[in-house]
């Protein structure tokens, strides 16, 4: 019997990579769920091409899934993977530059044919030319071993080859001492419903992969990542898109409103529609409109009729919705617009992440058109951000823009499931009193009454033409127009009254303050924590509210010698901060369709520290 060693690691980052038809996203998801159940903290990053099936074996068709699991708090999917499972030469070519020196490389040797090597752009075989000497390479004939393991099931060759991802998963389970139970149950319960034969084969492949790790001589080490210390509670793993959907569902319950989602499919936002369309038993109405404009317009109609109205989209769709957003602003109706940002401009990089719609969200409409903008910071935080968006929309009778991004939308993390009866309710008041009813009268928040069709005696007309103050009648009067522009602006400004004081993580004053927003939270927090650990006087502020900004933000910014603003754009928040607070904010930018690495943030902050 071969001797196998078990090593304890604090954390590990694993990346599965293969052709877009190789099932890497499924493999990654299975590993993630098993890891979550094992009690580790984790973060994931699926990275896939825009094409559903790019030509097999090419660089363009490589799909990857990275997972960071730890016995400590995890903020990001990990800068550089410790382990890379590459199912073909193209996957190796694309992902090898990210692998840590000395990292583990598991390669599916069957795919390293001359033809595939050439397709991936290799002049010689990296398995033979010594170019992988800096890594711990495990060449495994994953395809061949899979076919052998499932030969008696009787699948055709094509279907049989497709089981190889479960062999790889089984092998990875062995290497990181993960139990097989979760995946076995998934195969038996979910996969078997669709295709019993394939389920039988995949089950065999999974077990064969695991057994191979146990017996093959090349594998001498396996690893254990102890459970993380996590706050007590009931958990599940959710993606950002799921977080948004569940947050809206919770807001529906907390407000007592009926929910309506009007939307048009667009990457990477479509999953929100997929999720919400499952909740018909809870009364959720989803409307797949004929286009982006109809998506938001139908939601405006639902808001007018008294619904919790939502539309979801990504950058190009937000551009199409601009005119209708302004209608909602003019009608002063509550509406949540979720923009899952992706690489732009134009069609841009549909499946890649970016934060470049901030200016569009703040300013991309005609006229003086202030709309509250908030952003989510992590997949789990999408839940809270969605509730916050609904809360603001209803209290101030306004459309609200919620920004997430492709990284948050598809990435996942363990999420502590809240008890709804412990969350504050979202108060809703429908106006019913005909005496003295003024469609554009206002309360102390400057919100107008919500008077919905069906209420006797409140029949009134609203529209996109300028409104006379109080009555809401059409008015072309110049003085009234200026008053209304100022009232609409002041209404949004007053939302700052409910924004909690800015949370400063790290030094309360000092050398460098890193200000971020949205999905860069994890990388910034981890980078800043590293520098704090090294004794630097640095801090991190992460903005939830981008319009209006927190009332105390200016004072916080002025407590630091330098303000550094890392963004996945060419400097949009930094522009805003310079404009608003007259500070010399330094921009740190990246627009490569990829999230920041922790190390990139740490290096950028260090560079600023050195310049002080």
């Amino acid at each position: 019997m071969l001797e196998k060693h078990t090593e304890v690691l604090e954390a590990v980052a694993i990346r599965f990579a293969g052709d877009s038809g190789d099932g890497m996203q499924l493999t990654g998801t299975q590993f993630t769920e098993t890891t979550a159940l094992a009690g580790n903290d984790l973060a994931t990053f699926p990275d896939y091409p825009a094409e559903i099936r790019a030509p097999a074996g090419t660089i363009g068709g490589v799909s990857g899934f990275q997972l960071h699991l730890s016995s400590k708090d995890v903020f990001t999917p990990g800068d550089e993977p410790d382990v890379l499972v590459a199912m073909n030469p193209a996957a190796l070519k694309v992902n090898l530059p990210d692998l840590k020196p000395g990292g583990i490389l598991i390669l599916n040797t069957e795919q390293f044919s001359d033809k595939n090597l050439e397709r991936a752009g290799y002049k010689s075989n990296p398995l033979e030319d010594g170019s992988l000497a800096a890594y711990r390479v495990y060449p495994v004939d994953i395809t061949g071993l899979t076919l052998k393991a499932i030969a008696d099931v009787g699948l055709n060759q094509r279907a049989a080859v497709r089981c190889k991802n479960f062999f790889a998963l089984g092998l990875a389970y062995w290497m990181f001492n993960r139990p097989l139970e979760h995946s076995i149950a998934w195969i038996e319960q979910t996969m078997a419903k669709k295709d019993a034969l394939a389920a039988q084969a995949n089950l065999k492949a999974l077990k064969a992969g695991h057994a191979y790790g146990e017996t093959a001589e090349i594998f001498t080490h396996s690893y254990v990542i102890p459970e993380a210390k996590i706050a007590p509670g009931k958990y599940k793993n959710i993606t950002g898109n799921e977080g948004v959907a569940l947050g809206l569902l919770a807001a529906m319950q907390l407000s007592g409103l009926d929910m309506f989602l009007g939307t048009y499919p667009i990457t990477p936002a479509t999953d929100i529609l997929h999720h919400l369309s499952k909740y018909k038993h809870l009364g959720v109405k989803t409307f797949q409109a004929e286009d982006e404009i109809a998506g938001i317009c139908s939601a405006i109609g639902a808001a007018y009729a008294g619904g919790l109205a939502v539309t979801t989209t990504s950058g190009p769709g937000l551009a199409l919705k601009s005119e209708a957003m302004n209608l909602a602003l003019m009608l002063e109706l509550p509406l949540v617009i979720v923009n899952v940002q992706r690489g732009g401009p134009s069609t841009g990089l549909p499946t890649k992440t970016e934060q470049s719609d901030l200016m569009q969200a703040l300013y991309g409409r005609n006229g003086e058109s202030p709309i509250p903008v908030i952003a989510a910071r992590s997949p789990g935080d999408c839940f809270d951000a969605a509730i916050e968006a609904v809360r603001i929309a209803i209290r101030s009778m306004t459309p609200v823009l919620l920004l997430t991004d492709g990284y948050l939308a598809n990435g996942s993390e363990p999420w502590r499931i809240p008890k709804l009866d412990e969350l504050p309710r979202i108060p809703v008041h429908f106006h019913t009193e005909p005496n003295g009813f003024q469609p554009y009268g206002r309360d102390d928040r400057l919100a107008r009454p919500w008077a919905i069709p069906g209420t006797p005696g409140l029949e009134h007309r609203i529209g996109g033409l300028e409104k006379a103050n109080l009555t809401g009648a059409v008015s072309y009067d110049g003085g009234n127009h200026e008053l209304m522009c100022k009232l609409r602006a002041e209404k949004i400004r007053r939302i700052a009254d409910i924004i909690p004081p800015t949370e400063v993580h790290g030094a309360l004053d000092g050398d460098v303050l890193v200000v971020g927003w949205g999905g860069t939270y994890g990388a910034i927090r981890a980078g800043v924590d590293k520098l704090l650990g090294d004794g630097h006087r640095v801090a991190h502020v992460h903005l939830r509210h981008l319009n209006p900004l927190p009332a105390d933000l200016g004072a916080v910014l002025h407590r630091f010698k330098k303000v550094l603003v890392p963004e996945l754009n060419l400097g949009q928040l930094s522009h805003l901060l310079r404009d608003r607070y007259l500070i010399d904010a330094v921009s740190y930018n990246k627009v490569q369709g990829k999230p920041f690495k922790e190390s990139e943030i740490a290096r950028a902050v260090l560079a600023e520290l050195e310049r002080l």
């Binding site: 009690g39 996590i230 409109a289 139908s298 007018y304 709804l420 069709p453 006797p456 529209g463």
Partner: protein, 344 residues
């Protein structure tokens, strides 16, 4: 669950309503002689007869002269943005199927900028009453050719004549699978209220093309059909189950020739029993009738097509009901669904 946040005020009694109840204090601001005035009067005339409480009626419009309509109707109303009224109305109707939702639009609003929403609302059979005022011109922007202007029309934007070939709005609606399609002229005091009332009672999308005169930019575009002197020669009144006859004394008829082409025939010599008979449920006939175009043929008015098909919002309600019967679960259950684990 706590009590509903929605108002629980009882509905008003619709039997007490009269035309006056639907008039607003705002004076309409259409040009003198505009066909919109008579359409407004006819709509206000038929609404009290429908048995619908006033507070449950909603008028949604887009942009254009016709789209000022909601301001003059004492119901709930929204004057929205250009071309989008069917989409907004779809949201109202889907959320609140109990409301009576009307869309008022024009040839530019519905068929140019809003063409997409228009055809999709019809396809879904969303229970909306869509009144499309067709004056075959852009009025509010002061006289450019519209998607229904005749080819070669000289306007400010087409001094050499419009090169555009026009839509046939009835053919478009039929091709978009509309379940109720009708036509009437603005000043037809008999025909217009008749189709309005039938549209209101139709369950599903109801589309009425209303020939409307723009006295400023396209005066007399429909005179051949509305002028008392020429009307009888040019108007083909569609009546379900009746032969297609027109003329002052019904002396002319529509028949098919041997190549399946429409021909105008003299009823006395051709024989009434050989005329085409109108059937509102015959799709091919409806399309055939939509192709009878002035001046070669009389212009059909009345109901081209009226068929039953489940409406969109009803299908959505049915799905919700079925889902509730299949699965009893709370929002909290939804949050906790899937693979979970507990940390003590």
């Amino acid at each position: 669950m706590t009590a509903s946040v929605y108002p629980t005020v009882p509905a008003t009694d619709p039997s007490l309503l009269s035309k006056k109840d639907f008039q607003t204090e705002v004076d309409p601001r259409w040009c003198p002689g505009c066909g919109d005035y008579s359409i407004l009067a006819q709509v206000q005339r038929i609404l009290p007869e429908l048995g619908i409480p006033k507070e449950q009626i909603v008028f949604i419009s887009g942009i254009g002269c016709s789209s000022r309509f909601p301001y003059y109707m004492n119901t709930y109303g929204m004057h929205s943005i250009h071309g989008r009224a069917p989409a907004i109305a779809s949201g109202v109707k889907t959320l609140r199927p109990g409301l009576s939702v009307w869309v008022v639009t024009g040839d530019g609003d519905a068929l140019a900028i809003g063409g997409n929403h228009f055809i999709h609302a019809l396809r879904r059979n969303m229970d909306l009453k869509i009144l499309m005022f067709n004056n075959r011109i852009y009025g509010l922007t002061k006289g450019q050719y519209s998607p229904t202007s005749e080819q070669g029309k000289k306007t400010k934007s087409s001094p050499a004549g419009a090169p555009d070939y026009p839509f046939n709005p009835i053919s478009v609606a039929l091709s978009a699978e509309a379940t109720f399609v009708a036509r009437a002229a603005d000043i037809d005091a008999k025909g217009l209220p008749a189709v309005l009332e039938r549209a209101a009672r139709h369950k599903g999308s109801a589309y009425i093309e209303i020939y409307q005169n723009c006295p400023i930019f396209n005066d007399g575009a429909h005179d051949y059909l509305t002028d008392r002197k020429t009307k009888a020669e040019h108007e083909l009144r569609l009546e379900h189950g009746k032969p297609l006859r027109f003329g002052a004394n019904g002396e002319k008829g529509i028949a098919l020739d041997t190549r399946m082409q429409p021909v105008v025939v003299d009823v006395a010599t051709y024989g009434e029993d050989r005329l085409l008979v109108h059937d509102e449920q015959n799709d091919s006939l409806a399309y055939f009738l939509s192709r009878l175009v002035h001046p070669a043929f009389p212009t059909p008015v009345g109901v081209f097509r009226c068929v039953e098909r489940p409406s969109y919002e009803q299908l959505v309600e049915d799905q919700l009901t079925a889902a509730r019967e299949r699965k009893v679960a709370s929002v909290q259950d939804a949050l906790e669904a899937g693979e979970t684990w507990t940390v003590a």
